[in-house]
């Protein structure tokens, strides 16, 4: 009964409404950013199928409307199209704000669209989803090597750390989905804990100019962004499956996203990777497998004016380290260097035995943004990261299954960012961040702590401005201040404390004397100033330039301050120094870009002067009951790095193309007048490609990778008496491996299964000729050859 009454009421109401058709709807259309009127915008009244446009003042009117709801679609060239439901009653007035920075929202289909640059005046390179997917079963470091000037420092083939213009570890910031990765990045054998599959795009920024991410990125910044959410009612996903002959590896990655036009979205992604022992051309690399698992969930709400995002990701990597690389003393190292083959070669196995590492990384992030009309965009973000790192050495007895290193690093970061873009010719970006980090080194390992327990407090504030002089000239200025405090509790062996001279300089920080060990409380503060300035100038459609300057300071990391003890995998004693000061980099760089129909060319040059550059060098030999060990100490010097990166692309026609990527870099220790260690070799990659849309979207590339021998290296060789052969020998740890040339093939086809589903089948062969080689920046080069041929088959489903 009630139902009918309601129906009746409703009907009556409707009738009365439809009777008044003398109403009108009028309004103004404004630019959201600066409030200026938008001329010639189209206003389409959907349910009446009626059009009108805005006049010179942005005004429009629709007369003779009946009261009730209408749906209008407002659109303008280069603007976001807006759809609104409006209740018309009498004279209805509305101001409609349109957004012309459409790229920021990316409502449009991403395919074919150009991703916006993160900065206007930095040397930046973008890796697109397509490239990332090709490396789905590999590492971040492998994918980044596609960028000219980016190389990697490896421990075997599964622990890959990116190197930007010769700098790595704490000198590089890795951003993932807006979060600065905090995962004990100081160690050379600590690869970034990132699942490449979570990224939709990766941008590499060379140098420290992108101050919004941090002030200490002397090397550069790697920014990983998730795939853009499309604001429409949709459910989409992709699955990548791949199999490898080398290491008999297989990997699986899948993701599913549900989006709503209103702005809500939710997505999940999961991946796994499993490899057994890899193979060099002539032998099996025993104990080099990998077992990785990860997943992430992502959800939120997004409109132009406001939104929020909550994201959680989990990654667990269990990585075996070549068994022959585990050595006891310097004699074992000499034996390993002199042996043409690794000393342990066993049959293939998926087993992951000690030495190995197992790292779990979790990130929880929540962010919120709101746009204010005529003002800008405010964003607040909180993130929490938990990094659990176990390293297992070959141990005996009860300790056999106990880790040697058990570190838990917890980081909380709160940051807020305000972008003022009301005037599109002058935009400002300012932000502050505060962080707290706690490191806990579990004493139950029964091994003296490599990194002590500490609390770290960070605070940073920055302001960046961008001036658009005209369409061809952009200017950037930025300044940033960072405060870092590290409050540690560390045990020193009394003998080491005295040997370092700390009993003289740091006597006041001893809080407990246990006889053979001292408990100390180092508490250091650092104030860092960074600045950047840049200009981009587009001469005409074919030629453009970028120049920039960056000043940055980096506080010493815990390893540089506190390292103290035997590093088994390197057979050396590593010593940090409490007296370490922060390092200061002054970097100037310039880029030239040429582009015409067939040829595109990008040439990047840089000179980076780093005062108080922190590096590790051999300083003597110490004797223990295990035998002799070289001592490597962290020291500071003045250094200069400079180089040239080239990327060139030539299209012969629509099907054939040729590409070259080359990089040249030199590093000098200016104080000691010698070469810097671990500088990437000169490298040139030539690619011949062919693609034909008609043959199932066939693409193929033949890649030639030529890496020259590094001739500029410091001589760190040392002499040591080897008792078993009763001889004093020179330990050659410096001589670099010879030049090598590798040939790779990549090809793929795409089958369109249905309108929304396609299958991409890829076949990649790396090291086609199974060439024997060793890479200078692979720390296992003393022990074994690098990887032999690998054939990978990859299946990619988009739906």
């Amino acid at each position: 009964m009630k139902y009918y009454v309601m129906m009746l009421c409703f009907l009556f109401f409707n009738i009365t409404q439809s009777q008044n058709c003398n109403s009108s709807f009028y309004g103004e259309i404004h630019d959201f950013h600066d409030g200026t009127p938008i001329i010639n915008a189209t206003i389409f009244i959907e349910n009446l199928n009626q059009y009108t446009t805005s006049d010179i003042d942005g005004k429009f009117s629709v007369p003779n409307l009946c009261d009730g709801q209408i749906t209008i679609v407002v659109s303008h060239l280069a603007c976001e199209t807006k759809r609104l439901d409006i209740q018309v009653k009498g004279e209805t007035f509305l101001i409609i704000n349109l957004e012309h920075h459409i790229e920021e929202l990316n409502e449009v289909e991403v395919t074919g669209s150009i991703n916006p640059k993160l900065t206007k005046t930095s040397q930046e390179t973008l890796l697109k989803t397509e490239t990332i997917e090709r490396y789905s079963s590999l590492n971040l470091g492998d994918a980044l090597k596609q960028v000219s000037g980016v190389s990697s420092i490896n421990t075997g083939s599964t622990i890959v750390k990116p190197v930007i213009n010769g700098l790595h570890s704490s000198r590089i910031i890795v951003m993932t989905n807006g979060v600065r990765l905090q995962d004990q990045d100081w160690g050379i054998e600590h690869a970034p804990n990132i699942d490449l599959n979570t990224a939709g795009s990766i941008t590499v920024l060379k140098g420290a100019n992108a101050l919004a991410y941090g002030g200490d990125a002397i090397g550069g910044v790697i920014v990983m962004e998730p795939s853009k959410i499309k604001l429409k009612d949709s459910l989409y996903g992709k699955t990548i499956i791949s199999g490898h002959t080398n290491g008999r590896g297989y990997s699986f990655n899948t993701s599913l996203t549900k989006t709503y036009q209103k702005g809500w979205y939710v997505g999940a992604q999961a991946s796994m990777k499993r490899f057994g022992d890899f193979e060099a051309p002539d032998y099996s690399l025993t104990n080099t497998g990998l077992n990785a698992k990860g997943f992430s969930i992502n959800g939120g709400y997004k409109t132009f004016e406001q939104g929020f995002n909550v994201n959680y990701s989990f990654l667990d990597n269990e990585t075996a380290i070549l068994k022959s690389a585990h050595i006891g003393n310097i004699e074992d190292l000499v034996n390993a260097i002199n042996s043409p083959e690794p000393l342990v070669i066993e049959d293939f196995s998926y087993d992951i035995n000690a030495p190995k590492q197992e790292v779990t990384h979790q990130i929880l992030k929540a962010s919120f943004y709101k746009r204010f009309k005529n003002f800008g965009r405010l964003e607040v973000q909180y993130d929490f990261q938990n990094n659990q790192r176990y390293e297992y050495d070959i141990r005996v007895g009860d300790d056999e299954n106990k880790p040697s290193i058990d570190l838990t690093l917890k980081t909380h970061t709160l940051k807020t960012n305000l972008k003022l873009d009301a005037n599109s010719n002058f935009t400002y970006n300012l932000g502050i961040n505060a962080g707290y980090q706690n490191n806990f080194a579990n004493p139950s390992t029964g091994v003296r702590r490599l990194i002590p327990d500490y609390d770290k407090y960070d605070f940073g504030a920055f302001i960046i401005s961008n001036y658009r002089i005209n369409n061809d000239v952009h200017l950037d200025f930025g300044i940033r201040y960072d405060y870092n405090q590290i409050d540690a509790k560390k045990y020193y062996l009394t003998s080491r404390w005295e040997e370092r001279g700390y009993d003289v300089d740091f006597n006041d920080i001893v809080i407990e004397d246990l006889g053979t060990q001292l408990l100390t409380n180092p508490n250091f503060e650092y104030h860092n100033i960074s600045a950047s300035a840049g200009v981009s100038y587009k001469i005409n459609d074919t030629n453009s330039f970028i120049f920039n300057y960056g000043l940055s300071n980096r506080a010493p990391n815990p390893s540089e301050l506190f390292s103290d003890g035997l590093h088994h995998s390197a057979a050396r004693i590593e010593l940090g120094d409490l007296r370490m000061e922060q390092e200061t980099s002054n970097r100037v760089s310039g880029s030239y870009n040429y582009k015409n129909k067939a040829l595109s060319l990008n040439l990047e040059a840089f000179y980076n002067h780093i005062s108080d550059y922190i590096f590790i060098e051999p300083t003597g030999v110490e004797y223990t009951n295990r035998g002799a060990f070289p001592v490597w100490s962290y020291n500071q010097t003045n250094a200069a790095l400079y180089g040239l990166d080239l990327t060139a692309n030539y299209n012969f026609n629509t099907q054939w193309f040729f590409k070259n990527k080359s990089s040249y870099i030199k590093g000098n220790d200016l104080s000691q007048n010698e070469d810097l260690i671990d500088i990437p070799s000169i490298k040139t990659v030539n690619i011949l490609g062919y693609s034909n849309e008609k043959w199932l979207h066939f693409n193929t590339e033949l890649q030639s990778e030529l890496v020259f021998r590094q001739n500029d290296y410091p001589n760190n060789n040392f002499e040591v008496y080897i008792p078993t052969i009763e001889e004093t020998v020179e330990v050659d740890i410096s001589t670099t491996p010879p030049t090598y040339h590798l040939l790779h093939l990549q090809s793929n086809i795409t089958l369109d299964v249905s309108k929304k589903t396609d299958v991409n089948i890829g076949l990649n062969i790396t090291n086609i000729f199974n060439t024997n080689y060793r890479e200078n920046l692979n720390r296992l080069r003393y022990f074994a050859d690098d990887l032999g041929r690998n054939i990978m088959l990859q299946l990619k489903l988009n739906y």
Binding site: E331, V396, V447, R448, T494, R496, E499, T724
Partner: protein, 189 residues
Amino acid sequence: MKTLKNTLFLLLATVVFSACSSDDDNPAPVNEEEVITTLTASLTPVGGGTTITLQSQDLDGDGPDAPVITVSSPLAINTTYNASLELLNETESPAESINEEIEEEDDEHQFFYQASNDIATFTYLDFDADGNPVGLEFTVTTAATAGSGNITITLRHEPSKDASGVSDGDITNAGGETDIQAVFPVTLQ
């Protein structure tokens, strides 16, 4: 009421949280568990006589201090000694014997003995389950002429005991990882 409850809970949480964070006890010291600080070889002449000890003691483990090497007295020429090794971790108190660990995993361990200037030869007396030598017990036979040289004792973990010469005490092909290496200057008279 509910608000009060919530406030109380919040208060409690704050107390617990701050109690945890302000209660930052000093971290516990770590005494290296696997460090072999002391290697002692006791050499007793067959048929009786004074026991000679060769000792390498490094109480700060991997610290900067070098091991202290002591040889109690010169060895006699033309003499066979029954020798045994004792390995200790003296950073723990009481000192922990490492011998047991080696005996338990004797197939993964082997000692090697070498003498320069041919001042002595060595024979294994103990063997693992596969019949391969271990070397905690051995004999030393000195040369017939007086002289001096070094006796080197090396312990390898996971050596290839089947490799050529290894079971005869030749370290050349042994591989594995060095756990201990001590050089004793000795005189024969």
